[in-house]
Symmetry: C2
Subunit: 381 residues, 2 copies
């Protein structure tokens, strides 16, 4: 028997749908589908040339939820439990030509018929719904109407259930392994790419498989711009190394940043490192339900105002997307709520170098819990 923690989110979604007289939702974006069904397609090799979309999720308010997927029987037996009906179609075989779009549409129409949606108001994600799907539905059922629910989904995803917090905790533990590996392996004379390879190797070995990872890994003067992909740039004595590791583990992202120095820091660098650390801690101490996102942003900027302002947000929500609400930015008046998971990333960029430190926190009923366990450390010992 598979536990199906996503059922809680589907219930919240149905309440939203009821309030808007929506009969069903048709989801087409990967982060939403992961959040609501658990289904994850590894994106790191790009879009498949064998399918229209990795999955489409149909949530019918008065009935079951159905996922339509290509050639993926393992999700049917392992992932969904009994809460989600799986319709799987054949997308590619070598023996005969197959029109995977037509195969998918057959299953979609089957699902629409079974749920009597010929007259429905369907909530969609307008940015990711493919034309071929909308066209095919409205041709067959001219009375079906679509309404964009992107904003509603954004809010739903900002509030994490306990299973999601556990998933982010695991992804963050992977960041911890990566940050420890940066400290362990960083050496004068190696390239940023070589360092990255050693770090990624440890991260992947710890979970026994490849892991998609977005990252900044830059050294020396490159740190002053705050980021960039690792290059053949050679690490030299006195260089700072900024490593912002953002891996995606089974569909949930982790995200932490540390900055280290190879050699002796200057007095100014040490002072700045401490200042960023204090700023980060002050935000962690400040966060609790009811505080607005931009109040956190303001606090961080104020703390660092004596050493210049960083030209980016102070943080962001994280989950099945690596950047989501609540965005910790000057304009954002969204009040924080329990179970919002936030990456905080104050920084100093100055005098030819940059220092950024980042932790992930989960807002609790009284404050917040720091999910990342790695202690920021500037010097290698």
């Amino acid at each position: 028997m598979i536990l199906f923690p996503m059922a809680k989110r589907i219930e919240r979604l149905k309440k939203t749908g009821n309030a808007k007289n929506i009969d069903a939702f048709l989801f087409t974006s990967a982060p939403t589908i992961k959040c609501l069904s658990g289904y994850f397609y590894n994106f790191e090799i790009g879009a498949s040339p064998f399918q229209l979309l990795p999955a489409v999720l149909l949530v019918v308010l008065s009935k079951n939820t159905t996922i339509i997927i290509a050639d993926n029987e393992s999700y049917a037996t392992e992932g969904a439990g009994s809460e989600i009906s799986v319709k799987s179609y054949s997308s590619y075989v070598y023996e005969k030509p197959l029109d995977f779009t037509a195969q998918f549409l057959l299953k979609l129409h089957e699902a629409l018929r079974e749920s009597n949606l010929s007259n429905a108001l369907i909530g969609i994600e307008q940015n990711s719904l493919p034309f071929v799907i909308s066209q095919s539905i409205t041709s067959a059922y001219p009375k079906i109407k679509f309404v964009d629910v992107t904003n509603e989904i954004t809010y739903l995803k900002a509030l994490k259930d306990s299973d999601e917090i556990e998933n982010i905790r695991k992804a963050t533990a992977l960041c911890d392994i990566g940050q420890a590996a940066v400290l362990k392996h960083a050496k004068i004379g190696m390239t940023e790419l070589e360092l990255f390879s050693l770090v990624r190797t440890e991260m992947e070995a710890s979970v026994g498989k490849r892991v998609p990872i977005m990252l900044d890994l830059v050294s020396g003067a490159r740190t002053k711009d705050g980021g960039g992909i690792p290059s053949n740039n050679i690490i030299r004595y006195g260089d700072l190394i900024l490593s912002d590791l953002t891996p995606c583990l089974n569909g949930y992202w982790g995200d932490t940043c540390n900055t280290i120095i190879i050699g002796e820091p200057t007095t100014e660098q040490s002072k700045h490192y401490k200042l960023v650390q204090q700023a980060l801690q002050s935000a962690i101490d400040f966060i609790k339900p009811g505080i607005k996102a931009n109040e956190v942003d303001q606090l961080l900027r104020k703390h660092l105002s004596s050493v210049g302002v960083y030209g980016h947000h102070s943080g962001h929500g994280i989950g099945t997307s690596y950047h989501e609400e609540p965005r910790i930015a000057p304009y954002n008046e969204m009040p924080l709520e329990p179970n919002m998971v936030i990456a905080l990333e104050p920084a100093v960029y100055r005098n030819g170098y940059g220092i950024r430190l980042e932790h992930i926190v989960n807002v609790t009923t009284t404050g917040c819990e720091v999910l990342s366990k790695f202690n920021h450390q500037f010097r290698k010992f």
Copy 2:
């Protein structure tokens, strides 16, 4: 002055459009946009939460081509040359909330107005065109009609121009480096993941940056299923290692496969390796314009019929997608033409192990040229 080799493909496309009374094309899929404009968005970190699409390309038959991209000034100055107008919009800033979809649509409507397309027949890719775009266009211009041109684009992309062949040659050279690294690093006692990390490190170092890579890297009994992602499975004496490396270098894919043995092969294994090698060579000798894709498939299967049939295609076209036409499969009567680039991958799966060997060839006017330079080698010396 930037050379703009894509202009040749845009001309071919316009001829296709003329024959179908199409006024313009609106492209939304990444492989097509790379092929026609050179613009490449690195997909390995998934879809950006900051934009609707990495790029949209509008090819107007009687006018210029326009690309609409988010925050990417470097393409504007380096990539496009003078042949493509660039409309760039701001998708995300930390200072104020930005609706990136609205920002994008403003630019799209500007482009449509400038080209007087209010009454046009527009060729689209129905699988990748987002609903929000089709909806926005037909609301503003009810007389605009869409026609799906997926099949036409599939054929256009199957025929490579010389710049594309050079790009695939470079991606294939990267495969060569990877295959040599497999032979160099494979050792008893290491995991598949450890081997993969060393291989990827050499591949990425050779080009000085991260490279998205799809791959099968499996050892021992896992080889009999033909593939899988590298795991913590430990390589043991007598194991075969099947490495099918498919990196994407600047938007063009390479793809080669080798199988090696750690230790002494059995007589049967050596015989099978030779048989697959001979099959591959026989297909290379056979290929020339006019030969049908399924004749190549048939030849390969016939060559290996004494040792069992492999349950997959015999090969596929490659370019800005890792799997495209011409598919070398039993059903496919597509005649080969010069400048079709094809990966050929015959295999034997039998008695608990698998051997697959793969080369990439470019069809010439008289035969074909093998683009991969790595010589398949079974034993480590």
